[in-house]
Structures are given as structure tokens and as C-alpha cells.
């Protein structure tokens, strides 16, 4: 059973995110648990990045298909707590994002007490993933997917995505 569990874990660890295919679900931190019951059925727990993440069904289907192709039956369940944070993106994942022109998130600040209102642009230590310049500005806190903000480099003038801290 332990061997089966190791195999299931290895297989699930290869499944990539449908919207950020340079990352595995494990690198993204949405893969929360893999277990095997006495019948050899694999249960995989994943957590959504955002409440409305439209990629959950694809993630589930990709996990089930990957295991099925290796002859394993799997069910996918959700865990909602604790809520996903960008801090769960692995170092390997952060490197992969940067290599693909997406600025990785900084540390999410844990909130103690009421959440403060921020009317000025958020200050982040972001640099352009194309040319490395730190002379960048935020275009919008909302981008092509729920998890990204849109930036512009003022040196090379290229726009780029930044995975925003949550």
C-alpha cells in the first residue's frame, strides 16, 4: 500500500496547472493531500486559489485522467480550509514563473486585526521579468486570471503579469 501511495503521489505531482502550465499543482500549492484506501482507490485533495477559480474542474479531470492512464482509480475532493495563499507556491514554482515572464508573488502579509484600506498603489518589490528593471508600475490589480495583477515595465515598456499576494 505504501508503494501504491508513493506511486500515486509521484503521478499526481506531474499534473500541471491549466492556466499556468509551467507549474505543477504541487508547485502552485493547490495540491493538499494524496491518500489511498484499502481498495486501492486514490483520493486527492485540492484547494481553489480563488473562490471563483474556473480551473477546478479541469484540475480534477487532469488528476483523474493521469491516474487512470496509470491504471489507478481516483476521486478528487476539495479542502477549503486553510485558504490558499501564494506563500504555498514553491521555490521551484517561483523560478518557473519568472522564467516564463511572470513575476512571482512576494510574501503575503498575514493580517492581524482589521484589514487596512489601501488607496495608494500597493508597494511591492517587483522587477520586470523581461529586462530586470525595477522601474515598473502597476496597470491594474486585476489581470488575465483571478490570481494576477497587470504591470508595465517603464524601462523596456513591456507589459507583464504579476501573481498577486493573497
Amino acid at each position: 500500500m505504501a508503494a501504491l501511495l508513493d506511486r500515486a503521489r509521484e503521478l499526481v505531482a506531474t499534473v500541471t496547472d491549466p492556466e499556468l502550465p509551467m507549474l505543477t499543482l504541487e508547485d502552485l500549492g493547490v495540491l493538499r493531500d494524496v491518500s489511498v484506501d484499502e481498495n486501492g482507490t486514490v483520493t486527492v485533495a485540492i484547494t481553489p486559489t480563488y473562490s471563483g477559480c474556473p480551473a477546478m474542474a479541469t484540475m480534477r479531470d487532469d488528476i483523474v485522467r493521469t491516474l487512470k492512464e496509470a491504471g489507478l482509480e481516483a476521486t478528487v475532493r476539495l479542502t477549503l480550509s486553510p485558504a490558499w495563499t501564494t506563500d504555498w507556491i514553491s521555490e521551484r514554482g517561483r523560478t518557473a514563473l519568472a522564467e516564463h515572464g511572470i513575476s512571482p508573488p512576494g510574501r503575503a502579509t498575514p493580517v492581524a486585526g482589521p484589514v487596512a484600506l489601501t488607496l495608494s498603489p500597493l508597494r511591492r518589490a517587483v522587477h520586470c521579468p523581461q529586462c530586470g528593471s525595477v522601474d515598473v508600475e502597476v496597470t491594474s490589480e486585476f489581470g488575465s486570471t483571478a490570481c494576477k495583477a497587470l504591470y508595465r515595465c517603464l524601462t523596456c515598456l513591456e507589459p507583464f503579469d504579476h501573481v498577486k499576494e493573497i
Partner: protein
């Protein structure tokens, strides 16, 4: 998803499963035509109702919070392709998507707590409970605040409403993270992170419009004046809210502090318009709505209601 052996059976020529993006549509089981495909957004989540909480109360409370999110999500999505610029179009759609996600979880939680709240559908209908609640309830069965159902107005009015709503909901969700119901607490903890971005977005635009041109300021003040009479309803405690949820009266002061902060920076006077009265004391939480909600629901629900058995 794509099953290679199934593919081979279906087609005389064996295809690589990654041949075409359409292959995934040709295999696999059929889904209800209007669903979002993760059939149960609470799959595998423990939905036991905590001790001391009436299932009916919990369901009613989840419908209130879920309907707020669903209806405002729909209103915000009406901006798709109509916002002042592409960035704002995308921002409003993202906020709508976050709220839709919160709505799905909350409606699913309502159905799991008390299945009797889910409208009856024809035998064998593929409609999941959350969608039955969204698409097959009538106007007076919705429990959202009247604030969220009002038409969008212009961009400034939409921003004014979003500022009031996001400030209210963020204060509410911060407290809801302590709910004895683990599902509600988890939905709230996740929602807090999303609503923080929504509130900041609305606050920045409020400031920008207030301090922008004469025209942008005129529109902002007009939009705020239209929205303001619907604000008081947010803090009127419904008995269900007071009994098992966050009593909205308890967050009024905190919400005001944030709104005053935005008003002060923006150089905007707090409006003095009186609250819009209910009908015989009843408001949105009681199912008493404005005509705007019927029109919104007619558009949102019409296709689903035509095809309660529709699959593809």
C-alpha cells in the same frame, strides 16, 4: 476527460488524445448545459450542521450571503465589454468572478444544510442544487439586499455601490471567520482576501473620480446619492442574522470608519439622504425586492428555465 480507448471506438481513425482541443467535448459524460462543471463545489467537504444551529437557519443565512454575491456578480458582469477601458472591464469581471465563486459555495452550503430550500425540478433533471437555487427560485425567494439588485447606473454609480458593498462584506466576513460552521468560516477566510482587493479597487476609483474632472466628480456625487438610501438596509438585523450569523448592526460603526476615510481623502461629504423604506417593514432579506430584481432574474434565468433537462 479524454479517454484514448473511447476515442478509438468512436472514430475509425485513432487520434492522439491531444490532437484537437475539441476532442474533450466529444467524449466523457454529458453535463447539464448551464453548469460550471465541478458538479459539487463542496465535494468531500464536511457539511455537518454544527450543534446548536438550526439547519433551516443556516440555509437561510447562506442564501442571504450567497444571493448578495450572486446578484452583484451578475450586475458587475453586465459591464463586460462596456467598461470605460479594457483594464476596468477585466477588473469588474474578475470581481464578478470572485463573487460568483463565493455565491456557488454559499448556495451549495445552503442546500447541504437544508435540502428543502432547493426548488423541486422534474425527475431526472441534471441541475445541481446550487444551480437550482440560482436559476429556479422566484424573485421573492431571493434574500439579497436591495443594494445589489439596483441597476448599474454609470461607472461612478457602480463604483459607489461597490465601495459600500465591499466595505460591508469585508467587515462581515472578517467576523464570519469565527463562525461555528466550519464551511462558512472557510468561505469567509477566503473571501476576506478577495474582498480586500475589491474594496481597494473601489476606494481608489472613488478617489480618482472625486478628484478628477468636474464631470467625473459630478457623476460620482450623483452615483453616491443614488446608492446611499440603500445603505441603511445593510445594517438592519434580520432575526436569522442576529441568531446564527454576524449581526450586521455590530459592524455598522466599523464600516462607517472606512467609508469616512475614503470620503475624507476624496473631499466628499457624507450623504444625508434618508434610507429607502421597506414595504410594510419588509426589505430584501425578507424577499421584498424592487422591480429591478425581476428583470435581472428574467434575463439570468430564462434559458435555464426553458431547458431544465438540458445536457451537452
Amino acid at each position: 476527460m479524454t479517454n484514448p480507448s473511447h476515442n478509438t471506438d468512436a472514430n475509425p481513425v485513432a487520434h492522439d488524445p491531444h490532437d484537437s482541443v475539441y476532442d474533450g467535448l466529444l467524449v466523457n459524460d454529458a453535463h447539464w448545459a448551464f453548469g460550471t462543471d465541478f458538479e459539487d463545489p463542496l465535494a468531500g467537504v464536511d457539511t455537518t450542521v454544527p450543534e446548536g444551529m438550526e439547519p433551516g437557519d443556516l440555509a437561510a443565512y447562506c442564501l442571504m450571503l450567497g444571493d448578495d454575491a450572486l446578484i452583484l456578480s451578475h450586475r458587475l458582469s453586465e459591464w463586460c465589454s462596456s467598461a470605460p477601458d479594457l483594464e476596468e472591464d477585466i477588473a469588474l469581471a474578475n470581481i464578478a468572478l470572485d463573487l460568483l465563486g463565493q455565491a456557488r459555495l454559499l448556495l451549495a452550503r445552503a442546500a447541504a444544510a437544508d435540502p428543502s430550500v432547493v426548488p423541486a425540478l422534474p425527475e431526472g433533471s441534471p441541475v445541481p442544487a446550487e444551480d437550482a437555487l440560482a436559476y429556479f427560485r422566484s424573485c421573492q425567494e431571493f434574500r439579497n439586499l436591495r443594494l445589489v439588485e439596483a441597476p448599474n447606473g454609470d461607472f461612478a454609480e457602480t463604483i459607489s455601490r461597490l465601495l459600500v458593498f465591499a466595505t460591508y462584506r469585508l467587515a462581515l466576513f472578517e467576523r464570519l471567520t469565527q463562525s461555528p460552521d466550519a464551511v462558512l468560516a472557510a468561505v469567509a477566510a477566503k473571501g476576506v482576501k478577495e474582498l480586500t482587493y475589491h474594496r481597494d479597487f473601489a476606494g481608489r476609483w472613488f478617489l480618482t473620480l472625486a478628484q478628477g474632472t468636474e464631470e467625473s466628480r459630478r457623476r460620482l456625487l450623483a452615483g453616491l446619492a443614488t446608492v446611499w438610501p440603500l445603505r441603511a438596509e445593510l445594517f438592519a438585523s434580520h432575526e436569522v442574522e442576529a441568531r446564527i450569523g454576524v449581526d450586521p448592526a455590530s459592524i455598522a460603526a466599523d464600516v462607517d470608519v472606512v467609508l469616512e476615510q475614503v470620503f475624507a481623502v476624496s473631499g466628499v461629504e457624507r450623504p444625508t439622504a434618508r434610507a429607502l423604506a421597506g414595504v410594510e417593514g419588509q426589505t430584501g432579506r425578507d424577499g421584498m425586492h424592487s422591480e429591478a430584481l425581476s428583470r435581472l432574474l428574467a434575463e439570468m434565468q430564462v434559458v435555464a428555465r426553458e431547458h431544465p433537462m438540458g445536457v451537452w
